[in-house]
């Protein structure tokens, strides 16, 4: 290693200096500082000249208010408890005649006390709906420490400085691609936690879904295009109740919609077919997304819905699939491989490695990507083999999954499941207290 060699030579130099005479090290040190006296300094006189910060500098946290579902995850995870959230519940009229009225949370206050915030970014990481972003803004100091508690208006203003997400690398999973969600769902499910099977599906899904509306709002235009879509509709998109989508969606959605009927069948061939169908549906949507990205046109909305909705059948579809079957897919939903046993059987890791490598090569992925995927497949296969001894926990959730998934949005992420103060425990009271104090 180059680093080690340099360290070694440094140590050698040091010992040489020790040998060569007393006080030479001191002189050497003084020579070093003297050298710096004559170097041109690199100081930037900040208020006068500004540094060219990297585009994704993590300066301050911005809020995209429409995406916030008041799930309180950020406030709960915040190590400093510097996020204050207030909300109330609203009842919406039923969508259909004869339906039941819906309830949703409306955000009243979202404030971050930047005198407490330590910029750990946990809130940004934890936000399941992509409502919080890092902004490169950093000049927001105040003369009074109390004014450092910035309210949602200010936080929303900073959204204009948030860059759109970077381009995906070549051959990466496209957002909204169903197999990715399916794969992640199954990977989670191998942890043999039946309840988590649904939750991971739910968690995985909003990411896919939320990427779609995000595209529109990343433009720096003052009128944020996402607002053309009412917030509740966005939320509805992401909520698990929409596993059976409402009528009135466009034809593409319907095309995807036709498939979930098959999902209830625990037949691997069919579900994989469904996954592929979903993928084929999403492809045009993705291209549309890219188009909307480039033109920053708000009209990109309708097709953008597609991937999110389409992702759901895939998720539900994926669950009954034997884990061995999907695990090896590398998240790509390739040609269906006949799997005779429902669960617990894995192929030889080396074979999986070679197979995925070939697949990737035939799909034209770059060699690095292909190799990486192949390695992932191998590792997954190895783990699958290790687990074949205990097939029971893997099969059990497979049976129950289809029923559980759409109706029980268990742990988090589903707005309807949570009240305005979702956890009556720590978060809401502190927010109130801080309000009264402030």
């Amino acid at each position: 290693m180059a680093v080690d060699e340099r360290k070694l030579s440094d140590a050698r130099k040091l010992s040489d200096a020790r040998k060569s005479g007393f006080g030479l090290g001191l002189l050497k040190g003084m020579a070093v500082t003297l050298k710096h006296l004559f170097k041109h300094n690199t100081v930037i006189q900040y208020p006068d000249e500004k540094q060219d910060l990297p585009p994704r500098t993590r300066g301050v946290i911005a809020l995209k208010e429409e995406n916030c579902t008041v799930c309180m995850l950020c406030a709960r995870e915040c190590p400093d408890w510097c996020i204050y959230i207030d909300s109330h519940k609203e009842t919406l009229p039923p969508k259909r005649a004869g339906g039941r009225p819906r309830k949703r949370n409306v955000l009243d206050r979202f404030a971050i006390d930047y005198s407490l915030c330590m910029y750990c970014g946990i809130c940004v990481e934890v936000c399941p709906y992509d409502a919080l972003f890092w902004s490169r803004e950093f000049e927001y100091s105040e003369y009074d420490i109390r004014q450092l508690t910035h309210e949602k208006e200010r936080l929303a203003d900073w959204m204009t400085t948030v860059l759109p997400p970077p381009e995906l690398e070549q051959g990466a999973d496209l957002p909204g691609q169903p197999a990715a969600a399916a794969a992640s769902a199954t990977v989670e499910a191998t942890g043999a936690r039946p309840a988590n099977l649904t939750s991971s599906a739910v968690e995985a899904r909003p990411e896919q879904a939320a990427t779609a509306p995000r595209e529109g709002s990343f433009t720096t235009e003052p009128a944020r295009p996402a607002s053309s879509l009412p917030p509740q509709e966005q939320k509805r998109e992401t909520s698990p109740e929409d596993a059976q989508p409402a009528p009135g969606l466009d034809t593409e959605v319907k095309a995807a919609q036709g498939l979930p009927g098959a999902t209830t069948q625990p037949e691997p061939e069919v579900t994989l077919g469904a996954g592929r169908a979903a993928e084929s549906v999403t492809q045009p949507a993705d291209t549309a997304q890219v188009g909307s990205d480039a033109t920053s046109a708000p009209e990109g909305q309708p097709p953008q819905k597609t991937p999110s909705v389409a992702a759901e059948p895939a998720v539900t579809a994926a669950e009954p699939v034997s884990q061995a079957g999907l695990r090896n897919l590398g998240g790509q939903a390739p040609v269906a491989r006949p799997s005779t046993e429902p669960a617990g059987v894995a192929e030889d890791p080396e074979a999986a490695y070679r197979r995925v490598l070939q697949e990737q090569a035939s799909r034209g992925s770059s060699p690095q990507v292909a190799e990486a995927r192949a390695k992932v497949a191998r590792v997954k296969a190895e783990r699958g083999m290790a687990r074949t001894a205990t097939p029971a926990p893997a099969t059990a959730p497979v049976q129950s999954a289809p029923q559980a998934t759409p109706t029980e949005p268990e742990p988090s992420g589903a707005p309807e499941a949570q009240g305005p103060a979702p956890e009556p425990g720590p978060v809401a009271p502190t927010a109130d207290e801080d309000r009264t104090d402030g």
Binding site: L26, G29, M30, V32, T33, L34, H36, L37, K39, N41, T42, V43, Q45
Partner: protein, 333 residues
């Protein structure tokens, strides 16, 4: 030009007034120089705004700020001693300036025992530091004061001995005599002895000023500001800032006088004799100050035990050997 007749008293008064103005101004200038030199040694710019041009008024603004700060005496402190300590620290520094010859005739008082006076007066500040540390009713202040006193005693000896080496060479304790006796290669002469004595003196001086790398008494990472922890405002300036800067200026002057040939030209070449001694003194003085400022950002702070060990086990033996060597030189060369 009318002849101004001044009595001895008036001359003395003028001289004292000059010193009283020189020291604070020198301390301010020294503070500014320290900011800038240290910054550039560290690849920075240092203060750039106060005063407009390269932040020349930084230390002035600093001083004004300190002037406006509240003068706080801790409740548990010994008020009398606490208030007297800055004076006990600062006045000796002022007194050092009396015998530094800026030019052959530009000296406040050419004492017969000039060097001895310098060393004696310089050692008084130790009491002030102890007073400050003890009276603050603060454990950090007390620890700092004890460290400071131990350090000042330990490094007083190498300084005295290295000065004694020079005095032996010159055969006089008068600073003017010493400067007159020094010839061209100044510090390097007599070979080896002078240079090592100069290095010993510089090391001891840095330690006496309690500057990095010997600033354990005011090590902020351990004991805040040591003896001056509880001081604010002008008291702080006088006990710490001005005292350190004043010490630095004084030691630079002493070093120039004892080792670098004082007001004499750098090379014994007759055209250079035309240049007034003040300028030569100033040049060498600036060099010396730069040396002190240069040391600070270069070396890390040593540990307290290393500090004492270095003084007692290295510097003092070395300077004793120097005294012996110089004795031999004077006798046999």
């Amino acid at each position: 030009m009318p002849e101004i007749a001044l009595t001895a008293w008036q001359i003395l008064l003028v001289k004292v007034l000059v010193i009283l103005t020189i020291v604070p101004v020198g301390a301010l200038a020294g503070g500014y120089a320290e900011h800038k030199v240290m910054a550039h040694l560290q690849h920075r710019l240092g203060p750039m705004y106060p005063g407009g041009f390269h932040g020349w008024a930084t230390t002035l603004a600093d001083g004004l700020k300190f002037l406006y700060k509240e003068d706080i005496v801790p409740d548990a402190a010994d008020r009398k001693v606490f208030s007297l300590a800055p004076a006990a620290i600062f006045v000796p520094v002022l007194m050092i300036y009396l015998v530094i010859p800026i030019d052959r005739n530009l000296i406040v008082e050419d004492l017969d025992v000039g060097i001895f006076y310098l060393l004696a007066v310089g050692s008084i500040s130790t009491i002030g530091v102890l007073m400050a540390g003890w009276s603050s009713a603060n454990k950090y202040a007390l620890i700092g004061a004890l460290r400071s006193a131990a350090q000042l005693i330990a490094y007083e000896l190498p300084i005295v001995l290295s000065a004694a080496v020079v005095a032996m060479y010159a055969g006089s304790l008068s600073v003017i005599d010493i400067v007159e006796k020094q010839n061209f290669p100044f510090a390097i002469w007599p070979p080896g002895i002078g240079l090592i004595a100069f290095l010993v003196f510089t090391t001891g001086a840095v330690a006496e000023m309690t500057r990095v790398p010997f600033d354990m008494p005011v090590a902020e990472s351990e004991i805040i500001t040591g003896p001056f922890t509880e001081y604010t405002g002008m008291r702080y300036i006088f006990s710490h800032m001005f005292a350190e800067m004043g010490h630095m200026v004084a030691f630079a002057g002493i070093g120039v006088t004892l080792f670098l040939g004082g007001y004499k030209p750098i090379i014994p070449w007759s055209p250079l004799e035309v240049v007034p001694g003040v300028i030569w003194f100033g040049l060498k003085f600036a060099l010396m100050i730069f040396l002190f400022l240069w040391i600070r950002p270069t070396f890390p702070r040593v540990r307290e035990d290393q500090l004492q060990k270095f003084a007692w086990k290295f510097l003092i033996p070395v300077s004793l050997v120097l005294v012996l060597a110089m004795g031999a030189w004077v006798l046999y060369v």
